[in-house]
């Protein structure tokens, strides 16, 4: 047979088998309307943070018009191990958008409605009670009143359920929050950053019967709602959550390095977590980090298996894998010919406002609303600005962040593994300024 045929066939296979793998090259930024010169500002920003030992290392990816234009690693992934483009990160809360997509897959199949009460699938959520403070001097400090309505699937997606996370108790000091967190602690509720020896269903069924912090729909509060959604996926799909995610999201999107438990052969690619004081003191973390009501167990990521599968924070992934997920959303549900969600569903998820007059102020500030799985910028009249109204994004507690700008057809991904996360807002925001200001068309 003609040798040129074989050459053509090999090239064809090489190109197609490479789909979904980390790309060896990126496109010239100018070909997608980005300035190479201006993108170098990102090099400087990250290198400076590495040199100043604010972070050990990072991977940054900027894509526009469906092409990766900037993809760079810097610093260390672990002691004496340089950061690589395919380094695996604990993306923690960036699991939440993945979980939201899992729910929307079931929604598109008619297996649930966003207006369904969660108790329809998890009966323990029936007849929820809300903790309300009694006036000072009362015999009891609080009472538990029937919720005005039940928690719906949509409440869970938009964090308006009245459920809480425990760790924000470190930063917000309302008495009701403290009391509800006390209930959580007593019932052995776990924020999911450490993996207990039980199933997510065990935890959710206890959580469901504890008092709510506020009436559903009357509060936006970042919470364990995504963990509940993960269990809801199990109940509705009748599949373990990790298997559902593998089959319905990771495999179709060719997210080949995304896992709930990393396989043995990839453990060496998992980045270490570093504790930074942002002043030059950077130490690798191996033990659990307990800070008030925040408990982090970075070493749990090295477990090869386990039964705790949280929709709020268990996934480990790479910058490239997460880019593929973000690109699917930016493409309104499709990537490389694989349609995961319909255009209409992605439009619903990324509609600017699902929370009315409330604001999604946890990672952002006023002017940010919440969709069905991510924060969405509503306007540009406020301090925290990601470049455009309609930008949707979320982040992870070990300092990972993704940002999708539908208007500019642009994705920015930052992956690091540094704690505490609250020192990183400036770095993240600067990165978005730099990726936005590199737009040249």
């Amino acid at each position: 047979m003609n040798p040129r045929f074989w050459l053509f066939l090999m090239l064809f296979l090489a190109q197609n088998l490479a789909l979904g793998k980390e790309p060896s090259t990126t496109v010239k930024p100018e070909s997608v309307g980005l300035s190479s010169q201006r993108l170098q500002n990102i090099d400087r920003l990250i290198d400076q943070h590495v040199q100043e030992k604010k972070i050990a290392g990072a991977v940054v990816l900027v894509a526009r018009k469906g092409k990766i234009a900037y993809f760079r690693e810097a610093g260390l992934a672990d002691t004496d191990k340089p950061m690589q483009k395919d380094t695996i990160f604990r993306v923690v809360s960036m699991t939440k958008p993945l979980t939201s997509v899992a729910i929307m897959l079931l929604y598109e199949e008619g297996k649930l409605l966003l207006s369904d009460p969660v108790s329809k699938y998890i009966p323990e959520f029936k007849d929820p009670k809300v903790l309300e403070l009694l006036p000072p001097g009362s015999a009891s400090e609080y009472k538990l009143v029937p919720a005005k309505r039940e928690i719906t699937v949509r409440d869970l997606l938009s964090h308006t359920s009245g459920l809480l996370y425990m760790f924000p108790n470190n930063y917000y000091h309302e008495r009701e929050r403290q009391l509800v967190v006390d209930f959580y602690k007593e019932a052995g509720i776990n924020d999911g950053f450490c993996r207990p020896n039980e199933t997510i269903g065990d935890m959710v069924k206890r959580l469901a019967r504890l008092p709510l912090y506020k009436h559903p729909g009357e509060v936006w509060d970042y919470s364990l709602a995504s963990d509940v959604l993960g269990y809801l996926v199990e109940v509705v799909s009748k599949m373990p959550f990790d298997q559902f995610m593998q089959k319905r999201i990771f495999d179709p999107l060719k997210m080949r390095d995304s896992h709930f438990y990393v396989p043995q052969e990839k453990l060496g690619r998992v980045a270490a977590v570093w504790k930074s004081d942002w002043q030059g003191s950077l130490t690798k973390v191996t033990e659990p980090m307990i800070d008030g009501d925040l408990a982090l167990c970075p070493s749990d990521a090295y477990a090869l298996s386990g039964k705790y599968l949280t929709g709020g924070g268990n996934v480990l992934s790479t910058a490239y894998d997460y880019y593929r997920f973000a690109q699917m959303l930016l493409n309104k549900g499709e990537l490389d010919g694989v349609r995961l969600l319909s255009r209409k569903t992605v439009e619903l998820m990324t509609a600017t406002n699902h929370i009315g007059d409330l604001d999604a102020t946890f990672l952002h500030d006023h002017g940010w609303k919440f969709g069905l799985g991510f924060a969405i910028q509503q306007d540009r009249a406020h301090d925290v600005d990601a470049g455009d109204p309609g930008v949707f994004e979320w982040a992870g507690i070990y300092s990972t962040r993704f940002s999708v700008d539908p208007k500019e057809d642009k994705i920015t991904i930052f992956m690091s593994q540094t704690s505490p996360f609250n020192l990183h807002f400036g770095l993240w925001d600067k990165l978005l300024v730099l990726s936005g200001s590199a737009i040249s068309d």
Binding site: K148, R149, R206
Partner: protein
């Protein structure tokens, strides 16, 4: 059809549309929680698998027993199973709920004055150790003093005075966390019903189950109660009715049959069945 006829027909049609009640065409209202009146006879039960748990159809043996009694006595009540003692106490003491179901509730002497205790099940307790830490078990023959200086894991509401008096150190926690501590070596022993321990060993420690050893003789006995609230308008009367109902199902064999169905018969039933009197 001439113009007059058309006009008449149109007029009739418009009149029908105007007069016909629009609501008759609508579907019923969407069912909201506030359309229902809460049941005045609320009973709250404390998680204690496999006796009380939302994991089992029927709610577990204790809940099935209570439901059988309620049905027999034609008492209309709802049972909610909750994870925390604090919530049960809240509902009974503050909201004046009809009753609670549980063991180790820890009411004060004053609080007990307003409560009526109806025993439902015996919970024979056994000590458990983790073999890798205590390969030869413990010198337990019935005298706690032989376990002095060891660390015992107790339920948060358990009366720990006896253990402290015998010289044991005590740590408290829920059964699952106590089992974790037993495995990690932080505890030397804990006590609980064999069925309750097996529930968690099967679900959470399946690979290590054989390493958790039950000691003989039994450590003692706890009682799972239905506790009625005298401050509920019908608390005392319904307590009497339930006590009568329970006595009746013990006498007619229904009680034992239900436990046999739940526990599979044999020794497990004998460990939990109430004495006939």
């Amino acid at each position: 059809m001439n113009t007059n006829q058309l006009f008449k027909r149109l007029t009739v049609m418009l009149l029908v549309i105007a007069i016909y009640p629009v609501t008759a065409l609508a579907t019923g209202p969407r069912i909201k929680q506030d359309l229902f009146t809460p049941n005045a006879n609320a009973i709250y039960a404390l998680d204690l698998p496999p006796f009380i748990t939302t994991e089992l159809t029927g709610g577990g043996a204790a809940i099935e027993l209570v439901n059988t009694v309620l049905q027999a006595q034609k008492i209309n009540a709802t049972i909610n199973t909750l994870p925390l003692v604090r919530m049960l106490k809240y509902y009974v003491l503050q909201e004046k709920a009809l009753a609670l179901i549980g063991s180790h509730i820890g009411f004060s002497a004053d609080e007990q004055k307003n409560l009526i205790f109806v025993p439902l099940l015996r919970l024979k307790q056994h000590y458990y150790v983790y073999q890798p830490k205590h390969p030869d078990g413990l010198p337990w023959k019935g005298d706690l003093k032989t376990l002095a200086n060891l660390t015992y894991g107790a339920d948060p509401e358990e009366n720990i005075g006896t253990y402290q008096k015998a010289g044991l150190k005590v740590e408290t926690g829920k059964l699952l966390s106590l089992l974790e501590k037993l495995k990690s070596g932080q505890l030397d022993l804990l006590a609980n019903s064999a069925l309750a321990v097996d529930w968690f060993l099967d679900r959470n420690f399946a690979a290590d189950k054989a390493k958790f050893s039950k000691l003989e003789p039994a450590a003692g006995e706890e009682t799972l109660f239905m506790v009625f609230n005298k401050n509920h308008p019908e608390g005392a009367a319904l307590a009497k009715q339930c006590q009568d109902g329970l006595t009746a199902i013990i006498a007619n064999g229904q009680y034992k049959a239900l436990l046999e169905k739940q526990f599979g018969g044999g020794e497990a039933v004998n460990r939990h069945i109430l004495p006939l009197q």
